[in-house]
């Protein structure tokens, strides 16, 4: 122990020294000379998946081509991440929470218009869904969406304005209400309004919400990504929370694509494309499944089928007519989400 402590002090000292002496040279230059460098700009809960996947892919790429590749990661709320790419964050690939955010980047001319057809399965190598995380023993007996609008239930979900996951949450609740009210939009709006009246904290991203629920102990139920729920149980909960699967949820399709303008500029199209395609290989699919994303490759999906509960899943295209329409109706300024918080709304 002593030795390592000294080592740390020494290293911090070295860093300090290095700063004062050498450099005004941006790190990227130093790093970017010999090896290919990819920047993957992603949303909140994929940190763990890509940490592992990047290492596996780098090894695979080195074996195949003999060249090294370094993959850098940036994570945050999906909206923030897309905004950064639009403003010039030079992402070679984006792996975001929903298609709308990539469409926004594409609208600014950075990505080909038909990006979603470039890779199989609408460019979604894995899918997920939204489930509930409740306190151990489910003391408030939360079984389904209809329980979330009861007056004494506190619901934790992030802000749909900034979080992709939160938009999926919102739409899942809306879809549930539609189905149980025979497609009555007004009833659905009332349902969702009552649900959000029970939300005491709106964090800006999925991660913030999980922290609020699990670590700060606020709320009775957290609506979150299935993968995030599993991960939170493993990493944080350790017997303090459990997963509840609602009767109906939404099929979440987090898409991936290369950013054309950037890869052409960096000359990284080949490795970037290979990187994303590797997500579709058996190896990539297994990793996704291990991190609780639902694989799309039939063989792997079958193998891990026991992990993922069967849920009735509605789709964004089927219920809401695609992301552009859903975004305009619900999340744009003045949309249904804003109206919830209007006085008397």
């Amino acid at each position: 122990m002593q030795g390592t402590e000294v080592g740390t002090v020494y290293r911090i000292g070295l860093v300090l020294l290095a700063c004062t002496t050498t450099n005004l040279i941006p790190l990227s230059r130093v790093m970017g000379q010999e090896r290919a460098v990819l920047l993957n700009v992603s949303y909140d809960p994929t940190r763990e998946l890509y940490q592992d996947f990047n290492a596996v892919f780098a090894e695979h790429w080195a074996n195949q081509t003999g060249t090294a590749v370094t993959i850098r990661q940036s994570h945050g709320g999906a909206g923030k991440q897309a905004r950064a790419v639009i403003d010039g964050l030079e992402a070679d690939v984006v792996t975001l929470a929903l298609a709308y955010d990539i469409d926004e980047i594409s609208r600014r001319g950075l990505i080909d218009k038909h990006w979603q057809t470039r890779l199989p399965n609408n460019s979604c190598p894995y899918t997920s869904t939204m489930v509930f995380l409740v306190r151990k023993g489910n003391p408030k007996a939360i079984k389904d969406w209809s329980d979330l609008i009861k007056p004494d239930i506190w619901v934790i979900t992030p802000n749909p304005k900034t979080s992709g996951g939160a938009r999926w949450n919102y739409l899942a609740a809306w879809g549930y209400a539609l189905k149980h009210n025979h497609g009555d939009e007004a009833k659905a709006r009332e349902f969702v309004t009552r649900l959000y009246k029970n939300v005491p904290v709106l964090d800006s991203g999925a991660r913030g919400s999980t922290t609020t629920f699990v670590h700060r102990g606020i709320g009775d139920v957290l609506i979150t990504w299935e993968n995030e729920a599993f991960l939170a149980m493993e990493k944080l909960g350790k017997g303090s929370v459990e997963i509840v699967v609602p009767s109906l949820s939404i099929l979440c399709e987090p898409p991936v694509t290369v950013v054309d303008k950037v890869v052409d500029k960096h000359g990284t199209r080949k490795v970037a494309t290979a990187y994303l395609e590797y997500l579709y290989t058996e190896q990539g699919q297994r990793l996704a499944a291990m991190y609780h994303y639902r694989p799309t490759m039939a063989a792997v999906a079958e193998e891990y089928a026991h992990k993922f509960p069967e849920i009735d899943l509605l789709t964004i295209d089927g219920v809401f007519g695609g992301w552009q329409q859903a975004q305009q109706a619900h999340f744009a300024d003045g949309g249904t989400f804003d109206q919830i918080y209007r006085p008397g709304g």
């Binding site: 639009i86 964090d203 700060r216 606020i218």
Partner: protein
């Protein structure tokens, strides 16, 4: 009276230093800020007005201005007591407390945010005792006030301290000899001296609180219409690719800041006047 552009001086370097100052200021601040106004000009007046008076934005102004006002008031009240105790009394640990006052200056706001949240959340050290009293601090408007009080405290204490040190005890003695009670002496003799500085401290704390972002996002809970501060709303607009909206609100905040700064400079000039009139 003719206007003098620059008074004569035998000191060199005026052109060089003023030129450098203006150039630096322009590159770093003025030109980028001008860009902000330019971007807002892309909106018509009607669009601009609709954006900055939207119900949600109004609610955010209310919270930002309201919480900053409360926090600055709390700071003036308690900051005055703290400054008084630090200047007038001697007790063990005084120097440590005195140094500690500057902590909010030096502590990064993000760190302040997570640690205040840890302390005041209902599972935290202080929050757990407030919970039974039904007082919610973290993730409620009160949390915003607490964080803003934290960051504003040094502004009040540090503007008050030097002036309190300068208050001559002989004046108080004189007041006492003339038969004034202690509260009367404080109210009639000391407080009038302090008004301008108290106001300056208040305005400084208020201005700083108005723009605060780092610590608030952790503790407020960020609820639309309830605990959403104006800077957060700007970030949110930005993340929705609504640049015009974000800059429109930024312009409003910028004008508010600038007005406050002018007020502060006037106040300082005022208290300077009084001091030179009284002191020497």
């Amino acid at each position: 009276m003719n206007i003098v552009l620059k008074q004569r001086s035998i000191l060199p370097g005026f052109g060089l230093t003023l030129g450098f100052t203006l150039a630096y200021l322009s590159v770093i601040a003025l030109i980028p800020l001008f860009g902000l106004f330019l971007r807002t000009a892309e909106l018509t007046w009607g669009q601009f007005w609709a954006t900055v008076t939207d119900a949600r934005v109004l609610a955010a102004y209310r919270l930002s201005f309201g919480a900053s006002l409360i926090a600055a008031t709390v700071n003036v009240l308690f900051g005055a007591i703290v400054a008084w105790v630090l200047v007038r009394y001697r007790f063990p640990g005084r120097r440590v407390v005195d140094a500690l006052i500057d902590l909010p200056f030096a502590l990064p706001t993000a760190v302040a945010g997570i640690s205040l949240t840890a302390v005041y959340a209902h599972t935290g050290w202080i929050g757990q005792y407030l919970q039974p009293l039904n007082i919610k601090v973290a993730f409620a408007p009160l949390g915003v006030v607490v964080a803003l009080t934290f960051i504003g405290l040094p502004f009040v204490v540090r503007t008050l301290q030097p002036v309190l040190e300068d208050v001559d005890p002989e004046v108080e003695e004189a007041a006492a000899n003339l038969g004034a009670s202690r509260p009367q002496a404080i109210w009639r003799v000391i407080l009038p001296e302090l008004w301008p500085v108290l106001l300056t401290g208040f305005a400084l704390a208020f201005a700083r609180a108005l723009g605060e972002y780092g610590s608030i996002v952790f503790i407020s809970g960020n609820m639309p219409m309830r605990t959403e501060i104006v800077p957060l709303l700007m970030v949110m607009k930005l993340e929705q690719f609504d640049y015009a909206g974000a800059t429109a609100i930024a312009v409003v905040m910028l004008l508010a800041s600038f007005t406050l700064l002018l007020a502060i400079n006037l106040l300082q000039w005022w208290s300077g006047q009084r001091h030179s009139g009284l002191g020497s």
